[in-house]
Each structure stands twice: as C-alpha cells, then as structure tokens.
C-alpha cells in the first residue's frame, strides 16, 4: 500500500487506476502527522472511556467523514489549525478526564470525523476528485482511528493494573503536547 503513488501534499494526482487513487488517498492521511495526531487522540479517548467503546463511537466518526466531503469547499487550508486545536482538546480530555458520557464521546467522534475530512481535502470541491480518492481518505482516517482504539482497548482490557491506565493517559497527554507544538509551527 505504501509503495503506491505518492501524495503530492493534498494536491491529488488524479491519475492512474482506482486502486492507485485509493492508495493515494490513504497515503495522504498516513504521511501527514498533522492529520494523524487528533485521530490518535480520539482513539485513545475512546479506549479509555470504554475498552470496547469503538463500536459506539465509530458510526458518528464515519458520518462526520462523509459529511466533510461536500462541506470541504467551504473551508480554507487554515482549517488544519482548528483541527489541531480540537485534537489538543481531545488529548487533554483523554489524559485528564476520559470518563465522559456517551453523548459527549459521539459528539467528539462526529466533530473530529468531520474536521479530519475537511483538513484532508483542504477546499477541494464536491466531486472534484475521483471517488477512489475520497474512499482512500476515509479508509486512512478510519484505519488509524480503529487501530488506535482497538490496540489501546486491548491493552487496557488485558492488563488491568492502574499503571497501564496511567501510561495510556500519559500517551494521550503526549498527543496534546505534540499537537500544541505542531500548531505553533503551522501558526508561525
């Protein structure tokens, strides 16, 4: 997958077969730490909320991704700053007070799903790009989200010791900390 056509910083080559385009869309997500960080924070929050919390939150996240496709035309490339800030907020919540209500978790998932897609598309118009690119982006976002939530949830449900929970919360604080720094670099 990673040997597919490289993504040219969200400009999307829009050439090649469906598979190449799909891989390009996925690679855009996997190669940009700014896009990865908030989703990782969300995945950690979900696992700290409930070890099997992904099942509850995932539909909202996907709904946000899909909603982001037609709405991307409304935003500029500055949306990445908003996305990073929300990611910092989610990382803080995950590290300090992860036991939220189900409604709050679903709202976080929906909002981050939406803004992640807006940030990945950076103003591209609705259906300006081949469908395979959109599918690749959605796949990439959800791959990272699900992998983080599942791996973290598995660790937390397997190792019940308090220090394991603390370690996951510390890693969540790292995502917030890194997010603050990357925000500053992009803001500069």
């Amino acid at each position: 997958m990673l040997l597919g056509a490289p993504a040219q910083a969200h400009s999307f080559l829009a050439e090649g077969g469906a598979y190449d385009l799909f891989v390009e869309g996925t690679t855009v997500i996997l190669q940009d730490v700014r896009l990865l960080l908030p989703i990782v924070a969300l995945g950690l929050l979900i696992s700290l909320w409930k070890a099997d919390g992904l099942i509850s939150a995932w539909p909202a996240n996907i709904a946000g991704n899909v909603l982001g496709v037609p709405l991307a035309v409304l935003v500029s490339d500055k949306i990445i700053l908003v996305y990073l800030l929300i990611g910092v907020f989610v990382g803080l919540i995950a590290s300090l007070t992860p036991k939220r209500s189900a409604t709050e978790i679903k709202v976080f998932a929906l909002v981050l799903g939406l803004i992640s897609m807006l940030s990945a598309l950076e103003g591209h118009e609705f259906f300006e790009l081949p469908i395979a690119i959109y599918l690749g982006l959605i796949f990439g976002l959800n791959l990272v989200f699900a992998a983080t939530a599942n791996i973290s949830g598995l660790i937390l449900s397997t190792f019940k010791a308090n220090w394991v929970n603390v370690a996951i919360r510390a890693i969540s604080s790292w995502t917030a900390a890194i997010g603050i720094l990357i925000f500053a670099v992009n803001f500069k």
Partner: protein, 189 residues
C-alpha cells in the same frame, strides 16, 4: 540501577545539544532532553517527586508536565521571549531536587504549579532550539517522547520510596539532582 547510572555517567557529554550524528527531526528532538544534563535531572526529578508524593500526583505530574512544556515550546517556536531561560532550567533541578531531598509532601495543586512553572522554561528551550535543517514535526514528536520517557525513569526509581531504605536512597538522589542543578546555576557545568 547501578548499571544504568554507570552507563549514563559514561556517556560523552560533549555531544550534548550538538546534534552530532543526528539524522532526523525525530532523533534530534528525542535526544535533545536526554543529552542535556540540565534537562535530564529535572525530568527525572519530576517523575521521582511524583512517585514520592504518591497517587494522584504520580500520574498528574507526568501528564501535566508535557502539556505545559509544549506550551512553553510553542512560545519558543513563535519567538515569544522568556527571560532567564537557562537560569530557570538550572533552578528547576535545584528546587525539585531539594523537594525530594527534604521529602516535601506538597498538596497536589501546589506540586502541579511548581512543576508547571519549570515546564515552561524547559519547553521554551526546546522550542527555541528547533533545528532548521530537520522536520519540525519529527522534532516535536521526538522531544515530547524523550521527555516522557525520562519521567518514566524517574517514576520507576521513585517506587523505591515505598520502602524505608528506598526512601533514603530516593532522597539522596534528590540531593544529587539539586547538586547538579546548582552546578549549572553557578556555571560549573
């Protein structure tokens, strides 16, 4: 533990912050807090003091510190000056070391404030020294992780304080940290 200490002490301090042999932003950021003794002693002290204070400080401090440190780092990145950065960094070793040496059991909010103030100094130093030739993103990831791992080392040592002999050892280590901090503060290191 003795093996770890000996390995640390035998490391070539001449490469501290020099970037020699560093090939990427992540490596540069990761080694930045680890190759600077002024950072190492303070980060380990945060973990030690947290373990010494017990729950919930043992996890609150290592969670709060990276976030506040990153805020200081952000100020450094965007060029907001903070005076007496190196003094603040050196002082952090002295103060945190003394807090451990004298087994000061501060309330959690006081501990968080003390740690937070010093975190800004350390973060600003890291952010302000962001190398131009490397990826800023990789550097950011590296130095947050490097700092977090140093806290973990401190927490690990801090668990020794659960026994009477271990507590004495931890307090002596606090004294050593304060001494190293003082060496930086008065220009001997």
């Amino acid at each position: 533990m003795l093996l770890v200490i000996s390995l640390i002490l035998s490391a070539n301090m001449g490469f501290a912050h020099s970037g020699e042999g560093i090939d990427s932003g992540f490596e540069s950021g990761f080694w930045h807090p680890i190759l600077g003794w002024d950072h190492v002693v303070a980060m380990v002290a945060v973990g030690l003091w947290g373990a010494f204070l017990g729950s919930p400080a043992i996890f609150v401090l290592p969670i709060v510190f990276p976030i506040v440190m990153a805020f200081g780092g952000a100020l450094g990145v965007i060029g907001v000056p903070i005076p007496f950065i190196e003094t603040g960094i050196a002082l952090s070793g002295v103060v945190l070391g003394l807090l451990i040496l004298f087994a000061v059991k501060a309330p959690n909010y006081i501990a968080a404030i003390v740690v937070g103030i010093f975190a800004i100094f350390h973060g600003h130093a890291h952010g302000g020294e962001l190398p131009e030739q490397f990826s800023a993103y990789g550097y950011s990831v590296g130095f947050v992780i490097g700092t977090g791992l140093l806290h973990s080392v401190g927490i690990g040592f801090g668990f020794l304080a659960q026994s009477p002999l271990g507590e004495k050892v931890v307090r002596i280590v606090g004294g050593v940290i304060a001494f190293v901090g003082a060496a930086f503060l008065f220009g001997f290191a």
